[in-house]
Structure formats: structure tokens, C-alpha cells
């Protein structure tokens, strides 16, 4: 059984709200058992896409197969294949931990031994063993999140959708949460996760980036860094960061510029240029003291800023 099946196949998925196109002919495939990162700014169409894939919003056109079932023709079958956890906590705050688990187990028809077994598992992953009687409202955010994920997959779905599961959670809890996602993936569950934390994107097997409803890049983190930016990127540290950026921006051979802390990243339009040219402009012509100029491998952030800028000019 080495054949890699596709868990999700999205084809020309489109959603229009009146004259506004929220999702515009998006196509991608997600392989079974992988962690698939879905990136984009707020309002780019991530949630709309997910809501169509889980069968609670009807696409305007296009289709997708989720777990082998069409979201247009068999949305009810799709629902038997998936688990879903949204950015809002989907637990009942006025129920206890155990009552929440019991409710979701009941909705998915888990009874008897199977229920006991899954309850134990959820309590373990949420680190809530012995705390079943606590009101969910009283739990800390990170724990609540793990409990929400646990209950979302209590019926052991083949595919789980996580819509910005870690927004508003401290870094340690985020780390723990990602360990849980990795465990699920290792167990064969396909995980599609939306996020705008780029460090989280590095954990994904595959990534897509959407902007203004359109897919603008896809591939794994490494491919994105090498395929989408062919130009050289220089990291420059100087005395006057903002002034330096303003001066460099005016040069024809300099593409996008962005500030990273006390340094600037510039993407070159002309790969023949280099450190000497930077020092010439800044130090010789403008007498700004330059500490260092390094050629760097782009970060995902560089890639995305580059792609979003490029997309902006394409749109306008």
C-alpha cells in the first residue's frame, strides 16, 4: 500500500458574494497523511475556502473531492470523513470537560467501549486526566485548544481542517499544539491548517499561498524559497536603516526592500550587482556607515512579501 492517495482534490473552486469574488478558481491537491499549510492574509479567502470544503458553504462554481466525495454532490458523505476546529473555540464553555467529550462522542455515534477509549485519548492529549469535572470555561487557552482539537477528531476522521487553530495562543502552547498535529499526521490523518504564523508554515509538508481569493504559490517550504525568488537577496546592516532603505529603493537594480529589525533585506533585479554596489551608494555617495552586507537564503517571509508585492502590481 505505497500508493499515495489524494485526500483532497480541489478544482477551480470559486465563491462569489454578490459581485465580490472571495475565492477565485482555486485548485490544489492534498496528499493523504500530510500536513498542508494554507497561508494568506486576513480576508484572503482562507476561511471561505475551508467552509466550502467542510460542506457548510456552497461553492458558486467548481468542485472538490474530500475523502473521495464531492462537496457539491455528496456534502453529507463528506461530513462523515472530516473533523473541523475553527479559530473560535468550538467547545461549550458552560459544560464540563467530560460533558463536552460526551456530547461530541454522542453526535458522532461513539458508544460503550469505543467511547471510553476515545475519551481517555482526548483527556490524555489535552492533559486533563483527572480534571473531567472542570468547567471548560475555567481552562487556560492552550489546554482548551488541545481539548477542542481532541474533540474535533474524537471520531478519528481521515481528514481534519484546522482554521487558524493557534491564533492568540502563547508560543509554548503553540509548540505543544504542533506536536499534537504532528502526531495526528504520523498516524495517517491528513491535516489542512490555515495560519498566518510563518514559522508554523515551516512545519508543513506542503504550502499554498492565496491572495485576494487567488492561489499565487504552492510547494513545500524549500521549493517556495528556491522556485519563486531567483533573484539575489542581500541583508544589510547600517547606521541609518530607514534612510538606507529610502536611498536603495530609488536604484533601478533594487527590487523590493523590507526592514527586518535592525537590518534591511533587498531583492536585486540584477543579480550581477552586489556588496560593492551597495557600499558605493550608501557609504561613498551618502556617507552612511555600513556594518555588513550578506547574501542570504530567503526566508518564507521574503518569499511571501515578494509574491504579494508582485501580485499587487499584477492586479492593478
Amino acid at each position: 500500500m505505497d500508493i499515495q492517495m489524494n485526500s483532497i482534490e480541489v478544482k477551480d473552486l470559486t465563491k462569489q458574494f454578490g459581485s465580490f469574488t472571495a475565492v477565485d478558481k482555486v485548485s490544489f491537491t492534498v496528499k493523504q497523511g500530510e500536513i498542508f499549510g494554507f497561508l494568506g492574509a486576513n480576508g484572503a479567502g482562507k476561511s471561505t475556502t475551508i467552509r466550502m470544503l467542510i460542506g457548510i458553504l456552497e461553492p458558486t462554481s467548481g468542485d472538490a473531492l474530500v475523502g473521495g466525495y464531492s462537496i457539491m454532490k455528496q456534502p453529507d458523505k463528506v461530513k462523515t470523513q472530516i473533523g473541523y476546529m475553527s479559530q473560535k473555540f468550538s467547545l461549550y464553555n458552560d459544560l464540563t470537560v467530560e460533558e463536552n467529550i460526551r456530547f461530541f462522542a454522542g453526535v458522532y455515534g461513539l458508544t460503550g467501549k469505543k467511547y471510553e477509549e476515545r475519551k481517555k485519548w482526548v483527556l490524555k492529549v489535552a492533559n486533563l486526566e483527572g480534571k473531567e469535572k472542570l468547567l471548560t470555561n475555567s481552562l487556560p487557552g492552550g489546554i482548551k485548544q488541545r481539548l477542542a482539537l481532541g474533540t474535533a477528531v474524537i471520531h478519528e476522521p481521515k481528514i481534519v481542517f484546522l482554521d487558524e487553530p493557534t491564533s492568540g495562543v502563547d508560543p509554548v502552547s503553540r509548540r505543544n499544539f504542533w506536536d499534537l498535529i504532528n502526531d495526528l499526521s504520523a498516524g495517517g490523518t491528513t491535516v489542512l491548517v490555515t495560519t498566518h504564523y510563518l514559522d508554523e508554515a515551516e512545519f508543513c509538508n506542503d504550502i499554498i499561498l492565496i491572495n485576494a481569493g487567488r492561489l499565487i504559490a504552492q510547494g513545500n517550504a524549500k521549493a517556495l524559497k528556491t522556485n519563486y525568488i531567483k533573484n539575489t537577496i542581500l541583508e544589510i546592516e547600517s547606521d541609518r536603516v530607514v534612510d538606507s532603505m529610502g536611498i536603495l529603493e530609488k536604484e533601478d537594480w533594487v527590487g523590493e526592500t523590507s526592514i527586518f529589525g535592525n537590518s534591511i533585506h533587498i531583492i536585486l533585479n540584477d543579480n550581477a550587482k552586489g556588496e560593492a554596489d551597495v557600499r558605493d551608494i550608501l557609504t561613498t555617495k551618502n556617507s552612511i556607515n555600513v556594518h555588513r552586507v550578506d547574501k542570504i537564503v530567503p526566508t518564507l517571509e521574503d518569499v511571501f512579501i515578494h509574491l504579494l508585492e508582485k501580485d499587487k502590481t499584477n492586479v492593478s
Partner: protein, 376 residues
């Protein structure tokens, strides 16, 4: 299917158990309403306060007044000696009516002449004023008749009254307004608790986002609606039982008709009320909006337009037509038929059919709104 409905219903009960605001609406509210309407709102006019300006001070006037106060309808509060006081007493609402006997009363009666007794009645509350005048008429007529008899007796004759009116009131022989109010009250309490509780319980899930989790589960809309409404149907039936029990204990109302027919009609009414509640939850996005909408669509019409207090027959034609918007109207007709008259379903089956149509219309509308939201 059953275990999914059971899971929803059980969860609903657990949430209700911890929701003091909802518990208040569901259990305490009906008791308050019952107490207010049962005791405070009393349309029976009794113990009317009157003042007497007796300028004659004779046996006649004394006898006349005795006749008046022997019923429990009139209480003589004060005797006055001048015209000026009449105005003050009525202005300050110390009395509701003033009786003025002229100073030539006994002289004229002794001469077999006609006498005019003046009643000054506070007409602000038209209903009560009417009742007062009716009582006074009856009392005056009966004293007048007595005087006529005595006069004729002296002449050696007997009076002959050709037609004597003998009214008998069926179903509510003492014409007590509480008997008339209890069925209406029950309808109102049931519709408020049903519409408010169901719409709030659904909208709360929308507001908190938990509805998403249910929407992505294999749970069907039908299972969700049955699971969500079942607990409130049970609670509404308990409420109905409380109102009936209180009606019996406090106001002596017994169920004359078939108790199963009562249960059956109540379930159909609840179906209509829950339909309205579900519809409200489909258009409202916050609990606040849902609460307001539930109030406006259930409480007001069932109070004003259902025939609970104000008879529909005496409303203008247009308003009579508008009364059809409240299912309580049809339930109250059925309830009065079962509780007070003890008649069978043949007397009110049309009402039940209307209630079913009402429920179906609103559930369909809710489904339509839901469908649109999904495709929007």
C-alpha cells in the same frame, strides 16, 4: 439517529441547568404571570365606594340605601352635607359615585309623585362606570317595585308583572373573570417560554460559534431541531401542568373535558410556537435580537390580539384579521372549549389545523432562510 438526538437533548438540559437566566424565564416567569393575572387583574367590579348626599334623611332613603349595601357591590364610604364636597370627593377619587337624594323625596313619594335620584359617576373608566350604573339600575328598580306593591296593596290590589327575566350563565355561572382568563394565561405562558427558550438556545450556538461544529457533523437539521426542541417541549408541558394545578388550587378551575385531548391540543400548539421560535433563530444573529423578536412576536400579540383579555368580536374588522398572526388565539379557543365547556374535538378541530399550518409555514420559512445563508 436516536443517539444523536439524545446527545443534543441531554446537552441542552445540562446547559439549561447552569443557565440561571434561562431557568428564571422558563420556571419563575410563568409563576409571576399567573399570580399577576390571576389575582391582580380582576375585571369583577365589587365594593364600589360611594358617598351619599342625603337631603331628605327619611325612612325611604334609609331603606333604599340598605338595599344597595346589602349586596357586596357597594360600600358607603361617607355621608356629606353640601354640593361642594361632591366635586372634591370625585376629583380626588375618594369615591367612584355619589348618590344625591333631593330634600322633597319623602314628600313627593307620599303624594305619589315621581322622584329623581341623582347618581354622579366617575366615568374615566368606562367599563366600571357602566357596571356601576347597571347595578344601581337593578337596585333602584327593585326598591321601586317594592314601593309600587305597597301602594297597590293599600288600594287592595296586587301587582302583575307579565314577563320575568331569569338569566342562567353556563360554563362560568358566577361570571368570574379568572375562569375566563386562565386558559388565555396558559396559552400566553406557553408561547412565551417556548418561543423565547428555543430561539435563544439556537441563537446562542450561532453567537458562540458552536453551531459550526454541529454543522460539520453528520447531524441532520431534523435531528438537530428535534434534539433541541424536545427538552423545551417537556418543560412547556410541565409549565402547562403548573398553570392547571395553580388554576385548580387558587381559582377552583377543573378540567371539564378530556385530558388527552388537552395534551394533544397543547402539543400541536407547541409545534406552532416552536416553529415561530425556530424561524426567529434563523433570522437573528444575537441573543439580544432573538429575545426582542421573541418578545414582540409572542408576548404582545398573545396579550392583546389573542382574545385572552380583549374579546376579538368587538375589534374592528381589520384588527380582527390581524389577530390571525398569533397562534395563541387558536389555542385559547380550544383551551376554553376543553377546560370550561368540556366539549369534544368537533368544536375546535379547525383551530388545531390552523396551528399545524402555522407551524409548517414558519419551519419552512426557517429552512428557506437557512438554505439562502448557505448559498449566499
Amino acid at each position: 439517529m436516536f443517539h444523536r438526538i439524545y446527545a443534543i437533548a441531554k446537552k441542552e438540559f445540562r446547559q439549561l441547568k447552569r443557565d440561571t437566566r434561562m431557568l428564571f424565564i422558563v420556571f419563575f416567569f410563568p409563576v409571576v404571570l399567573l399570580a399577576i393575572f390571576g389575582y391582580a387583574i380582576n375585571f369583577d367590579v365589587k365594593h364600589i365606594k360611594v358617598a351619599v348626599y342625603d337631603q331628605d334623611k327619611s325612612d325611604y332613603t334609609r331603606e333604599y340605601l340598605n338595599g344597595l349595601v346589602s349586596s357586596e357591590y357597594f360600600d358607603i364610604v361617607t355621608h356629606i352635607d353640601s354640593d361642594d364636597e361632591i366635586k372634591r370627593l370625585l376629583d380626588e377619587k375618594i369615591v367612584q359615585a355619589v348618590i344625591v337624594f333631593p330634600n322633597d323625596l319623602s314628600r313627593r313619594l307620599n303624594n305619589n309623585e315621581e322622584v329623581k335620584v341623582q347618581y354622579l359617576v366617575d366615568g374615566v373608566d368606562g367599563n366600571t362606570a357602566n357596571v356601576i350604573v347597571n347595578y344601581v339600575n337593578a337596585a333602584t328598580y327593585s326598591y321601586s317595585l317594592k314601593l309600587t306593591k305597597e301602594y297597590l296593596a293599600v288600594k287592595g290590589k296586587e301587582i302583575y308583572v307579565p314577563i320575568n327575566l331569569e338569566p342562567r350563565f353556563w360554563f362560568n355561572p358566577e361570571l368570574e373573570s379568572t375562569k375566563f382568563l386562565i386558559p388565555g394565561l396558559m396559552g400566553m405562558i406557553l408561547i412565551i417560554t417556548a418561543v423565547i427558550s428555543v430561539s435563544l438556545s439556537i441563537v446562542r450556538e450561532k453567537e458562540r460559534g458552536t453551531i459550526e461544529q454541529i454543522n460539520v457533523s453528520p447531524l441532520s437539521s431534523l435531528e438537530l431541531i428535534i434534539g433541541k426542541t424536545a427538552p423545551y417541549i417537556m418543560i412547556s408541558l410541565i409549565n402547562a401542568a403548573i398553570v392547571l394545578l395553580a388554576g385548580y388550587l387558587l381559582f377552583g378551575i377543573v378540567i371539564k373535558g378530556d385530558i388527552f385531548l388537552l395534551l394533544f391540543s397543547t402539543l400541536i400548539f407547541l409545534f406552532a410556537a416552536l416553529g415561530l421560535g425556530i424561524f426567529i433563530s434563523s433570522i437573528a444573529d444575537s441573543q439580544q435580537v432573538a429575545f426582542q423578536a421573541a418578545n414582540v412576536t409572542s408576548l404582545l400579540p398573545s396579550l392583546i390580539l389573542s382574545g385572552f383579555i380583549f374579546p376579538i368580536e368587538s375589534m374592528p374588522a381589520v384588527i380582527q384579521w390581524v389577530t390571525n398572526i398569533t397562534p395563541a388565539k387558536f389555542y385559547i379557543v380550544s383551551l376554553r372549549a376543553i377546560l370550561l365547556r368540556g366539549v369534544g374535538i368537533s368544536a375546535f378541530w379547525e383551530q388545531l389545523i390552523y396551528l399545524m399550518i402555522f407551524g409548517v409555514i414558519f419551519i419552512s420559512l426557517a429552512a428557506l432562510v437557512d438554505r439562502k445563508a448557505k448559498a449566499a
